[in-house]
């Protein structure tokens, strides 16, 4: 596939490779768009990018191919994944459209645009190919370097500046300025006592032995879940799993079996509310 010289037509190998990987790339792109979960989209996109990297290589852009893999798939996509994690891996956003007509318009525009592009390329009459060979006569990387540091040096410098600016900007955006000194443990506890709100440390999640995962709220005596027991982040992401109902159901099942074991008549649920009747 690393044909040094691509002429008017390419080798069948490359053709084969194109058709196979191209399909994969398209599928990956589609998945990126239509996957419910951001993580999956990210992974599919990564796949597409790798395919593209291969295509770069196939087109004789060795340097770019590598950079594609290292920078894009390596750095950028990972950045994406980090953010996804931050926002919540499991958060699956519905693909149901809320804006009226948006989806149809989008598809229409997309299709139309695609058709136009194809038409454009189609009648562009791109016949002769001088191939990447002549470009890469004295090495692809050297050639690029020569160009970057001579012809495009200013652009290069400016992009560098741009990158730095972007980095600073990202820091500024994400950095939250502390207006006051962070409270120490001691101060916090004192404050709690002073205010009289949950003087003891917050209850731990999963008071039932069966459920001690962090994302399950502990139940209050009346069986309702208590938000306090779960960490703030999860609460905000709405990733609490509420087990109060199933706990009650389990309890009822337990009672049921106990009754059967003791050969008592099945008790209607209301006997829960009238224990004195149950006692006779």
């Amino acid at each position: 596939m690393t044909t040094p010289l691509a002429a008017y037509t390419t080798s069948t190998g490359e053709a084969f490779q194109f058709w196979v990987l191209g399909t994969i790339a398209v599928i990956g792109a589609l998945c990126t768009v239509f996957m419910k979960r951001a993580v999956h989209s990210a992974l599919c996109l990564a796949g597409t990018m790798i395919v593209l990297a291969v295509f770069y290589l196939a087109n004789g852009a060795y340097f770019l191919g590598v950079v594609q893999i290292v920078v894009y798939t390596g750095a950028i996509m990972m950045l994406f994944l980090f953010v996804v994690m931050l926002v919540g891996v499991t958060a699956a956003d519905s693909l149901k459209e809320t804006i009226k007509g948006q989806r149809w318009l989008a598809l229409l525009c997309g299709a139309g645009f695609g058709v136009l592009l194809f038409a454009g390329i189609g009648n562009a009459s791109l016949k002769e190919f001088s191939g990447a060979g002549r470009a890469n006569t004295n090495g692809n990387v050297e050639g690029l370097a020569a160009l970057i540091f001579t012809k495009y040096v200013f652009a290069f410098e400016i992009t560098g500046a741009l990158l730095i600016t972007a980095a600073v900007g990202a820091m500024v955006l994400t950095h939250r300025e502390r207006t006051e000194r962070a409270k120490t443990q001691r101060e916090l506890s004192e404050q709690r006592v002073r205010e009289g709100t949950n003087v003891p440390p917050l209850p731990a999640p999963g008071v039932y032995a069966r459920h001690n995962a962090v994302d399950i709220a502990g139940l209050l005596p009346d069986g309702t879940p208590s938000e306090l027991t779960v960490s703030k982040t999860l609460r905000e992401r709405g990733q609490l799993r509420d087990v109060s109902t199933e706990a009650l159901n389990d309890l009822r099942a337990l009672e049921q079996r106990a009754e059967e074991r003791l050969e008592r008549t099945a008790i209607e649920p209301e006997t829960f509310k009238r224990p004195e009747e149950a006692s006779k």
Partner: protein
């Protein structure tokens, strides 16, 4: 000598300016200033009169050019005065009677705190009226014409705190405005026809144009005359005009202003002579009005309104005469002058009666006043005899001549008109006798009852100072009021005889108006006889009804005609229903239309744009993705466009 003419007008004008702009500091002397200046105007008039008498008949026309008023292209209006026999007659009448009534008012308005303004208005009226009769062109005449209208408006509404007075004033001005419209249209017609509206060019060239044009002009002038002289159909304002102080009724609404219409017609005689149809219209209007007024006069219990009705009918006589053409012009003016005397006298008498009766105007609350106010009684009586045409008194001569002239018109018209005139004479005799009897004879119906009848509240605010709700104490008026009455009585006794013996008046006026003896089917004697008979009949009926049996203090319901006549023969009701109501509806609907339709279209457009933008605004739903869609669509379109460009 010509320069005196301007002074005639200047004197009262100055008076008006001084009195109205002078402010309160003139309150104590104001009335004397006014009287003096009108008297001065009268004196100037006399001087000029003497001057005219000194000339021979055909040179008795003085003109004075003051300045060019409106010069635009062919449209040349000058401020030029023309004093000939006709206007001279009026000048003397106006200034003379005017001065007398000024004098009278000094006493009559004594208790009114706004007396100064009253005299200011009176002077204003004199100036305007003099301008009217002295003008040399119709436009300047128009100025005087509306000027007197203004003065009458101010004076009728002098007691503005009374809504009735204010309304009456407004009504008078509006009805007059309708007439003025006729005058202005007439002037325009003159301009388009003759290229001028000065008396000379217009009246001198009536032969050069079509009769149709002249008829149109004539009818328009007639309309104007109807408005000013309270002729049918524009007579409705005169009755209400009695809301004004009595001297005003005497001067403006009896002696001078209301006769301006007659002046206009006589002055435009040349036009009417050339337009028989217009003349016929004039005579018809005159005849109708003289009957109309007389009938109304019979029914009114308000002494002033009764007199107003009679004024209407007397002016009807004059208009009728004026409509007869050269046969009648002179007699129209003659009757106008004599009428000026006796009707002014009668009004002043009425005013004096009211003065003594706590401003009571209802004749049914009078009675037997002759021994309490003898002077008033005598003067009023003389005026009464004069108006009914008692032989030898001035009314006799003038009215008799008119009736003759009416018959002299010839043909069936002549008979009809003459008959109307005769009938009118009979009715006149009837209602005047009625007034006389109810006021001065019979038992004293004002005894033991408060005179302030609730439905007829007192006119004068002065009354509030003296008019308690008690039984009145009839008393003779002060000298300053009686003297003018006496003078006028003398005039109304001897005026007619003086004028007609030796045809003095005829010879005096003929150069201006021209004169021709019609061919009367009846001899003068016959007509006189007939008149006498009618007179006697009228008096007799009145005596039978009001002299023999006592007059009820409350008006009986009366016959249908009587009730109609009390309501001015339903003319006001007609106006109210048709014009006032109709107008109100029209304006109200127009206001609605303007607001909903004309304005609605505009606001609708605005609202439309607002709605459209609101709908477009929905596109800006704030969702980044929909913006993105539009951007993407735009990009697609751009690509398409470029491709098309390359394809083409």
């Amino acid at each position: 000598m010509e320069n005196l003419i301007a002074l005639l007008i200047a004197a009262p004008l100055l008076g008006a300016a001084v009195l109205l702009a002078g402010g309160r500091r003139l309150d104590r002397v104001g009335h004397w200033i006014g009287t003096l200046l009108s008297a001065a105007s009268f004196v100037f008039g006399l001087i000029l009169f003497a001057d005219l008498l000194g000339k021979n008949a055909e040179h008795r026309t003085l003109t004075q050019h003051l300045w060019t008023w409106i010069p635009v292209g062919g449209f040349q209006a000058d401020v030029t005065f023309r004093l000939d026999q006709l206007s001279m007659t009026f000048v003397l009448l106006i200034t003379g009677v005017g001065s007398l009534i000024h004098l009278y008012s000094v006493g009559y308005m004594e208790h009114d705190e706004r007396r100064r303004r009253f005299f200011g208005y009176l002077n204003l009226f004199l100036a305007a009226m003099l301008l009217l009769v002295l003008a040399d062109n119709y436009l300047l005449l128009y100025v005087g014409w509306e000027g007197v209208g203004l003065a009458s408006y101010l004076l009728i509404g002098f007691w503005q705190h009374k809504p009735s007075a204010a309304t009456a004033a407004k009504k008078a001005f509006l009805v007059n405005r309708v007439g003025d419209m006729g005058l202005s249209i007439a002037i325009m017609l003159m301009f388009t026809t003759f290229g001028s509206f000065a008396f000379g060019p217009v009246l001198g060239h009536t032969g050069d144009t079509s009769e149709g044009k002249l008829t149109a002009i004539g009818l328009m002038l007639l309309l104007a005359a109807c408005g000013k002289s309270a002729q049918v159909p524009l007579q409705s304002w005169l009755g209400d005009a009695m809301e004004g102080p009595t001297p005003v009724s005497a001067l403006i609404h009896a002696a001078t202003m209301v006769t301006a219409g007659v002046y206009l017609i006589v002055r435009s005689g040349a036009i009417f002579n050339a337009a028989p149809d217009a003349q016929l219209a004039v005579t018809v209007v005159g005849a109708v009005t003289l009957l109309f007024g007389a009938i109304v006069g019979c029914a009114k219990d308000d002494i002033k309104k009764a007199l107003a009705g009679s004024t209407m009918s007397q002016i009807g006589y004059m208009v009728l005469a004026a409509g007869l053409g050269p046969i009648g012009y002179v007699f129209a003016i003659m009757h106008l002058v004599t009428h000026g005397f006796f009707k002014a006298g009668l009004f002043l008498g009425a005013g004096s009666v009211m003065h003594g009766m706590n401003d009571e105007v209802d004749m049914r609350r009078y009675g037997g006043l002759r021994k309490y106010m003898p002077v008033t009684f005598i003067t009023f009586g003389l005026g009464y005899l004069a108006i009914i045409g008692f032989p030898g008194l001035s009314g006799f001569f003038s009215k008799d001549k008119i009736i003759e002239a009416a018959f002299a018109k010839g043909g069936t018209e002549g008979w009809i008109l003459g008959g109307a005139a005769l009938l009118g004479a009979a009715i006149t005799a009837f209602y005047m006798t009625r007034v006389m009897l109810m006021t001065f004879f019979g038992e004293e119906r004002w005894r033991n009852q408060p005179t302030r009848s609730p439905e007829a509240p007192s006119a004068e605010p002065a009354a509030e100072t003296r008019g308690e709700h008690t039984e009145p104490h009839p008393h003779e008026s002060p000298k300053v009021m009686t003297i003018p009455m006496i003078v006028l009585a003398v005039g109304s006794v001897f005026g007619g005889a003086f004028f007609s013996i030796g045809d003095r008046f005829l010879n005096w006026l003929e150069p201006v108006t021209g004169h021709s003896e019609g061919d009367s089917p009846l001899s003068a004697a016959t007509v006189t006889g007939a008149t006498m008979v009618c007179l006697v009949i009228g008096v007799a009926i009145a005596w039978a009804q009001y002299g023999r049996k006592p007059v009820p203090a409350v008006a009986p319901r009366g016959s249908l005609l009587t009730r109609a006549a009390r309501r001015d023969l339903l003319q006001d009701d007609f106006n109210h229903v048709v014009l006032v109501r109709g107008g109100e509806h029209l304006t109200r609907s127009l206001v609605y239309v303007d607001h909903t339709l004309v304005d609605g279209v505009v606001n609708g457009t605005a609202a439309g744009f607002g709605g459209m933008s609101g709908r477009l605004r929905r596109l800006q739903n704030g969702f980044v993705r929909s913006y993105a869609v539009s951007m993407f669509g735009g990009a697609a379109l751009l690509v398409a466009a470029t491709l098309l460009m390359r394809a083409v």
